[in-house]
Each structure stands twice: as structure tokens, then as C-alpha cells.
Symmetry: C2
Amino acid sequence: MTKFNYEQRPWWGYAYEAAMGAMEDAKMTMAGIDAIVFSAVSSAGGGEHQSHKVSLLSGLFKTNVPIIELPSVCGGGGVAFWTALRLLESAGLNNILVLAGEKLVDNRAEVITDWILSAAERVIEQPEGLLFPVQNALVFQQYCQKYGGSHDDLELIAFKNHQNAVLNPKAYYYKRPVTMEQIKKSPVVADPLRLMDCSLSVNGGAAVIVSKDQAGIEVAGSGFATDYILTFEREDKTHFKATQLAAKAAFEQAKLTPKDIQVAEIHDAFTSVELISYEDLGFAEPGKGGELIRSGRISMGGEMPINPSGGLKAKGHPISATGLAQVYEIVNQLRGNCGERQVKDVKIGLTHNIGGAGGSVTVHIFKKN
Amino acid sequence: MTKFNYEQRPWWGYAYEAAMGAMEDAKMTMAGIDAIVFSAVSSAGGGEHQSHKVSLLSGLFKTNVPIIELPSVCGGGGVAFWTALRLLESAGLNNILVLAGEKLVDNRAEVITDWILSAAERVIEQPEGLLFPVQNALVFQQYCQKYGGSHDDLELIAFKNHQNAVLNPKAYYYKRPVTMEQIKKSPVVADPLRLMDCSLSVNGGAAVIVSKDQAGIEVAGSGFATDYILTFEREDKTHFKATQLAAKAAFEQAKLTPKDIQVAEIHDAFTSVELISYEDLGFAEPGKGGELIRSGRISMGGEMPINPSGGLKAKGHPISATGLAQVYEIVNQLRGNCGERQVKDVKIGLTHNIGGAGGSVTVHIFKKN
């Protein structure tokens, strides 16, 4: 993956750097790549809007292999990864390059804001004010009514992820510590969510090569589920059904349970989403996510660190690239390549990537052989 | 497929109608569908711009199954079909709904024009005037310089496709005959291409269900290749390499040759593209496409009718829906369901779908068992 930053490179510049890194790591060249699967959505609607990105990548990588684009807003990286794993079962597709890159943040704030708005339901919910922070604030309000729960727990999640990012050289908040006081005093965005509950929009890219020859790290389980874009149509207003279904599929395929996971990257688009996801993924009983963060078990040094990379909160969240950056983190944790933020002796890890307000979710389980 | 028309329904309205038709035909309900694969690009940048279409379809079809979006401009339907066939090889994915819908034509001409422009290379070629008709005019000019060739042959192609559409109740030009004089006198768009050399922008949808149980029609061959978006970077300036590579892959998989094909739907975005594609697909030697159209062999009543549906030229071209509408036509030809435009006793057919100016191409070969 690239550093997550605010440089003004096009989305494909970030994707290209990440792809070159993945090929160097795999000791491969494009001659060995049978297909490219990618996600890159932030350019839509902008000045550089190029809708035939498939053909753009053909020229960029000087290849004529099949290339497919898999948009699914913030869940695009995970969906691309899920799809690539299945394409790998086809004859002739032995090595697939999966990549994502985004230039989300630039000097055209109106264009970018409009694009982000386009990832929520625009006809019925959005005119009523249901932007993403509001949707998630409502979900957490309902969670608190049903189970109890307090904003104090969310502050602990933000603090944990910022502490982790300080040790990650590719995170936006690398060597930029944030204090608990800064977190507590950050401005309210949508009550009870504050600015420091929200993930950080950044630019960046990430890439992975998946191979029939698994090269040391196996994808043991892979799940994907979707949910209705109209959040009020969903039965459960406090949890995310798509996460539950995707996790069930992944754990069943891997023949593992949540207790087997030793390190995880969870989609903390908001700190409240991380908390609720502990429960959806099976790491805590419903209503018990707060106990998990307070226990210290998921902090660095605990038995199952969550978001050692810093997460979307403090590493940064470049839309489609997030899902693949999670894979990058877990693979490197299992390989023991993570330096100061290395979790000790981990052999099984999990990634969890959400699109929209829980509308498309992938869960992947990785095993070191 | 839906009728191709100018009704003002959203893209997903067309897709939904087509999907219901496919399920009725397959005697299935959503309960039997394990995944949805779709393409729908015309809404991008418009007022109804909804970038999390994956989640929109989850709500529309009331399902939580995996749903993936496969944009590849005018080639999106074929790319979605290619991908769905490969997903079908995965455990648990036994029946996949593949669909596309577009509302291309509405009262926001500027938005739509800008969207279509976004499918070509915008930074280097487009500022020099290389819009799609110009690109294709230049390709045909170079073809004529190299091989000879005359606009008269293109007029025959337009006339053939319009004659066929008159017999197709779902075509825009159904019961609307066009004379050779109208074709010859239509205004020049980009010399030598005239208005009647260009395909017809319409709204519409199409859907296909692919199943492990092949139900009478087998996909014997499936090929997909890409090419550089900068047309001047390509080696061959008179033909489309991606078509040649995709056709080679499809014929090899099917263990068939072009001589075995009895009916075909070819991507006639421009009449010149249909002519050149005869050669790229192996139906004629390089430079001999004109002889093929003049021979009458590919007209209705000939030995291998091409574009019995009327093609993009006269049935209409609703971007992503085109690739699936081609599949709809060939499957119905093989089934003998095509009424007045039925090609007699056909058992092997081919579809050919292009994205952009040859930047992403799929070729599929169908066999009646």
C-alpha cells in the first residue's frame, strides 16, 4: 500500500504505486498477471472523470488481459478481493492483481462532498438529513436505548486506533499522537457522534496479488452479503445484518469461530460502527461491545488487537483502497513484518470491510500455513 | 429484455422489468438466485446519481445475496456476463442473475453528453477532438487507405440492420422502415461517417440467468480482452486487437471455428465497426469485410445472418444493456422463438460486445444441446 496522505496524485497513480509494490513483493511482473480486478470510485463526477477505467488500466499496465471494475463505495476493495478469489477458480486465471486507488481529498470540496452523498440513499432518506454521520448516530442512539451504552466507550475506541496509527509509517497519523482530551473536546457532528468518532478522508492506494499457489498465506474464509439502501426498511435498527451474514459465511468456510481470530482489521468508519461490529462479527455478545473495549483485550498487547494499523479512524480511509489496505495489514501481521506495531505470534487474522451504511459487507479470514 | 425506447424510467426500472422476465422464463423466484451481477452506467454524474447501486438492488430485489457491479461503458453487459460465468464455478453460486438497465436519453442533454464523453480518453485525445465518431472515422479512413474500402459497404450494413429491426417488436425501429435514400442522404457526422452510420442511443434493460444446470443452451466459449484507452498507442490502427484476442479465447474454449457460427450479434456502434469486426472475428479475411456484406450471406435468408435483432444501429444501444440484449437475441434464435425474424435451424450463435473504442471486448459462443 501507499502512504495515506493528501498528495494530489490521480487515483491511478496511487493504484500504480501499490501494484508495483505488490509485484515486487511477489517477485512477479505483469507478464505473470492473468487478470486485473480493481475498485476506484472517487473520480466519478469529478474533472478527471473517466468512466472507461478498465481501458485506462490496460494502457497503464500495457496489458490486454481481462480487467474488471467493482465499485461498491467504501466496500469496493473487499468486494474486488471477494470476486478475485472466485475468478481464481477459473481455468487460465492463476494470478490476479487486485488493486484500488482513490484521490478523495482535493481542492474541489463541492464535487467530493456530492460524491460522498451519492453513496447514501438520495431520494427518500437524504432529503430528510440522513447523511452518513446522522445515519450512524441514529443507529448508535437506538443501540444505547436497547442495550445501554455510552459515548465513553467510543472515545476508548478512537484513542486505541490513534495510539496504533502513531506506530504505522503508512498511516496519516504516524508520529502524530492524539490525546484523550482532544477526543473528548472535539466538536459534535451528529449527536452523540463527534468529529473524533469519524474516520479520516485521505488519498491512497493498495494492491494484493491472489494466486492459485497460495505462497504462505491462505484465504481460509470469504463471505459477502448486501443489505437494503433504505436503512429504515431494515428489520434490525441497532446492528448490521450484512456483517452478520458475511461473517457467518466466512467462518463456516474456514471452519473456525471468532475465538480463533488473533488479530483483526474492522471497518471503523465511525467508532460506533467498530463497537457494533465487535458484536456482529461474534467477538462480543449483543450489547457487550463496550465491555470488550474496556477490557483492554483488543488493544495492542491484548489477546486480539483490533485495528493495529490505526484503522479508518487514524490510518485514514481512502474509500475503495480501505478493503485492500486491511488485507495488506493482516498479511503483514501474519508474516511478522509490522515492526513497532507487530502483534506477537499471530497465525489467524480477519478483515471486515463495509460499503455505505452496512449495504455491502465482506469478511475475510487469513491463515498462515 | 424490455422494449428499447425513450420512456423516462430510471435505469433500475428497466433492469427490474428485464429481471422479472428472465425469472418468469426460468420459472424461478429470487429465492433461487445466489448472486446478482449487473452493469448500469448512465446514471453516473446525473441528478439521480447513486453510487452504491449494489445496495439499491439489495432493497429493490429484497435480497441479501452478494451483488456486484461491473462497469465497462458500452461493454458492461458482456463483461458482467463473462464474470458471472466464472462466479458460477464457485461453491454455493448455482444460479446468478445478470442484468443491466440504462436511462441514457432524457431532458438533460448536457449531462448525458458529458457522460458519453467520459467513456473516451479525456486528457490527451479528447481535447484534440477525438470523440467516438471521430475516432471511428479515423480508423475507417486508415482501413480504406490500407485495404481499399468504400462507404457504399457501410450503407449496406445500415440498410441490413434497419431491415431486420423492422421485424423485431422490442427494437426502437420496429415497423419503422428506413430507405437506402435516407441512409445515403443523412448528414455527415465525421467524414466519412454519416448519421445513419451511428448507433441509436435509447433507454432499456436486459437480463439473463446463468445456471450450473444449463437448461438447453450452453455457453461453449467465453473470451474477454482489453486494450489501451489511448488509441494512438495501439499498434494496429485499422483493426481491434481486443476483439481478435477475445474471439481467439472463445473459439479455443468452444473448440469451434468462425465457419461453425450460424447467427451472430455484432457490436455495430458504427457501421464501420461492424465491417471491421467481420474480419476481427474471423468471418472474413483482413480487407474482405466489404465482400461479405455485398455477398448477401449475412443478411436474413443468408447462411449466417448478422444482427437479426437490428443491432445497436436500429434496435438501439442502451450502453450496458446492449451486451445482455445480444445474449437475449441469440438464446431466443437458438430456441426458435424469434417469430418473423427467426433464422432457420440454428444451433450455434455468437455475441460480440465492445466497450469504448475497442478498449474492452467480450465474445461468447452459444450452443443448443
